[in-house]
């Protein structure tokens, strides 16, 4: 029983330190550290003097010592943290570590059956320091290992705060209780509760770590999917508007013809209609050049993106010479990738001096190839840099976009992407193998 308790206390200390370290210490500005240190020392000293002179505490017993240290940590860490509440929890966690180690040491003596040695303060202190050193080194190694693999934000979690508070109260209560009889029933219940909360803490942290890891990639993919759906919706709306416009124009034509008003018709055609006509003809041209693509989703994404480009004064050239019918990869994924590539291309062209955009869809014996070639503002940069998460020359989306595509090509068999920089030209070549 004592052994389990001792272990769980130790585990508790580790978690507390990890939480504390992650929440506060790494966000401190180095310059301010000294200032806060001084404030904390002065305040805790003042507190000590008040306690001493008022006669509440007459000698410097271990309790007073812990009180000092805890108080010091509480003040310092709360001050250092940008968010005072978080800072308080962080320092509370560090404070609890000290109580935890204290309990561990006491229990250690109990386990080896040398309870009377607890009174030997020097021996007790040495054991205490040894335990503390083990703990610190363990946490340092552990947190370095963790940081490499998971997002340390998992310690910033409400349920962790709550359970910390509960187990903290338990540990303080049992600490007060230890002056009395350890084995009485309230003590047992408190220890049992404490034990359970430590296990809970551990479970929550592991679960969070697991969730956070898969969430990160999922979030990116959801974001890209959301954009893809938005693209589809907008392209659908655009098509509907065109249809609506056509009907309107036709009915006006009909009116003029019925009235046999050729002069009016000519005026309408050259005047009112010409602007609208330009846009409609543009669409016509786009739809015409893309008519060989028989996959509607892909066609509409390309139409929508190309018409968007036209609005930005970019005239895309499109080559689809053969009929494109089926792909070996889910249409949704290919659409999403094409959407991202087109967005990136348009964005890059806007920064470039010369504005050119070329799109080609090619049918090969066993695959289909999509080529998107655009001009860009020439930069001395390694292509790999563009694929890094969050990297972008300008906007955030581009960084996410290429990262998302890399996620797909990394895991999906039939997708091959080639990215090439050649002077003022930037070319993305996506090859989609046919299903076997």
């Amino acid at each position: 029983m004592n052994f389990i308790l001792c272990l769980s206390l130790f585990l508790f200390c580790i978690i507390m330190m990890l939480c504390g370290e992650n929440m506060s210490l790494f966000k401190i500005e180095k310059k301010k550290e000294l200032k806060y240190n001084i404030i904390a020392v002065v305040v805790s000293l003042a507190f000590g003097f008040i306690l001493g002179f008022s006669g509440i505490v007459t000698d410097l017993s271990p309790e007073v010592f812990y009180l000092y240290v805890t108080l010091y940590l509480l003040i310092m860490l709360s001050l250092m943290h940008k968010n005072i509440i978080k800072g308080f929890f962080a320092s509370l966690m560090s404070g609890l570590t000290i109580f935890g180690i204290n309990g561990t040491t006491t229990l250690f003596f109990r386990i080896i059956g040398q309870e009377e040695l607890i009174e030997e303060s020097i021996l007790w202190l040495i054991t205490y320091i040894i335990f503390f050193a083990i703990l610190v080194s363990f946490v340092l190694i552990f947190s370095r290992y963790l940081k490499k693999r998971i997002d340390m934000n998992i310690f910033n979690n409400k349920s962790i705060y709550a359970i910390t508070a509960i187990s903290g109260i338990m540990i303080i209560l049992s600490y007060i209780n230890y002056r009395g009889d350890f084995l009485d029933s309230t003590g047992d219940i408190m220890y049992a509760l404490f034990f359970i909360s430590v296990i809970l803490l551990f479970v929550i942290i592991i679960k969070n770590a697991y969730k956070e890891n898969s969430l990160k990639t999922e979030r990116l993919i959801t974001e890209a999917s959301r954009k893809y759906i938005q693209d589809l919706e907008e392209s659908y709306t655009a098509m509907r508007t065109i249809k609506h416009d056509y009907v309107n124009i036709m009915s006006s034509f009909k009116l003029y013809i019925e009235n046999n008003d050729m002069a009016g018709l000519a005026e309408y055609y050259t005047g009112e209609l010409s602007e609208m006509n330009k846009e409609l003809l543009g669409y016509d041209r786009l739809i015409g050049s893309l008519q060989n693509i028989k996959i509607n989703e892909i066609k509409s994404v390309l139409i929508y993106k190309c018409s968007f480009a036209s609005h930005q004064q970019i005239e895309p050239t499109i080559e689809v010479r053969e009929s494109i019918e089926n792909l070996g990869v889910s249409t949704a994924i290919v659409c999403q990738i094409l959407g991202i590539l087109m967005d990136n291309a348009i964005e890059a062209i806007l920064e470039a001096e010369e504005k050119q955009l070329g799109i080609a869809v090619i049918k090969n014996p066993n695959s289909k190839t999509f080529i998107i070639k655009n001009t860009w503002k020439q930069q001395k940069i390694a292509v790999d840099k563009l694929f890094e998460l969050g990297f972008s020359t300008k906007s955030k989306d581009r960084g996410i976009g290429l990262y998302t595509i890399r996620n797909y090509t990394e895991k999906i068999n039939n997708l091959y992407l080639e990215t090439e920089i050649d002077g003022i030209y930037f070319t993305q070549t996506l090859t989609v193998k046919d299903a076997q």
Partner: protein, 238 residues
């Protein structure tokens, strides 16, 4: 010697191209010369011996029964002896309307007529590349990879590293200006590379000339393009 052939139906352009070629060969004193310039594809085919490495500048629209693309195909067919043949197409179309074409035809480059200044520079560059690929010792140092049916050549000295993906039989190759995914296994690629390359990890082959720094503690290596590759436990730089 590198033989250079020009086939262009417009006389003014034929003269201009021939001049550019002769000028470059004379000024740079390279082992190349203009061998034959014509408007007639057939006479070009009969003139070409196929014994030496050759560079062809072909107009796409030849106003003859065969166009430049078919001529290129005939040249490749005739080239049974396997001497080095480089083809450059000349066209009036803009860069962007040629994507399908560029993809399907294996050409060294495309010259676009709208910009005479850049043509002169590009001709020089192409002659240099052709010379280097035909005569220097580096000529064999090209890695041939395939993406489905398409063959891509990458110069070994450009390769920074090659890595595996999560998918079997799919690799990713990195150069400074290109990231390329293709089908293959590291093991078979490793056999095609030279001494500059090292299989430093089960998922990586790196170019030892492109290492920026090695982190022995973390067992990683940072390449010149700032990417990080893993090292296996017992790998040593030799």
């Amino acid at each position: 010697m590198l033989e250079i052939y020009v086939c262009e139906d417009n006389e003014r352009w034929r003269k201009l191209l021939s001049e550019h070629v002769s000028d470059y060969c004379a000024v740079k004193n390279v082992d190349a010369a203009l061998t034959f310039a014509t408007h007639d594809p057939k006479s070009l085919l009969s003139e070409w011996s196929g014994l030496n490495p050759a560079l062809f500048l072909l107009d796409i629209d030849l106003k003859s029964e065969i166009n430049g693309i078919e001529l290129a195909r005939l040249i490749r067919e005739k080239n049974a002896t396997g001497s080095k043949v480089f083809i450059i197409f000349i066209t009036t179309h803009s860069e962007m309307t040629l994507l399908t074409f560029q993809y399907k035809v294996e050409a060294l480059d495309f010259l676009i007529k709208d910009n005479p200044d850049s043509i002169k520079i590009k001709i020089g560059e192409c002659i240099d590349i052709a010379l280097r690929r035909s005569f220097s010792e580096d000529s064999s140092k090209v890695l041939k990879v395939t993406v489905d049916d398409r063959i891509i050549f990458v110069e070994l000295s450009d390769i920074i590293f090659i890595e595996t993906t999560h998918v079997r039989h799919k690799l990713r190759l990195h150069t400074n200006s290109r990231v390329l995914e293709f089908g293959g296994e590291l093991k078979e690629i490793e056999a095609k590379l030279d001494d500059c390359f090292s299989r430093c990890h089960k998922s990586y082959i790196i170019n030892k000339n492109k290492i920026a720094s090695i982190n022995k503690k973390e067992k990683t290596v940072t390449m010149t393009n700032n990417t990080t590759c893993l090292l296996s436990r017992n790998w040593k730089l030799t």
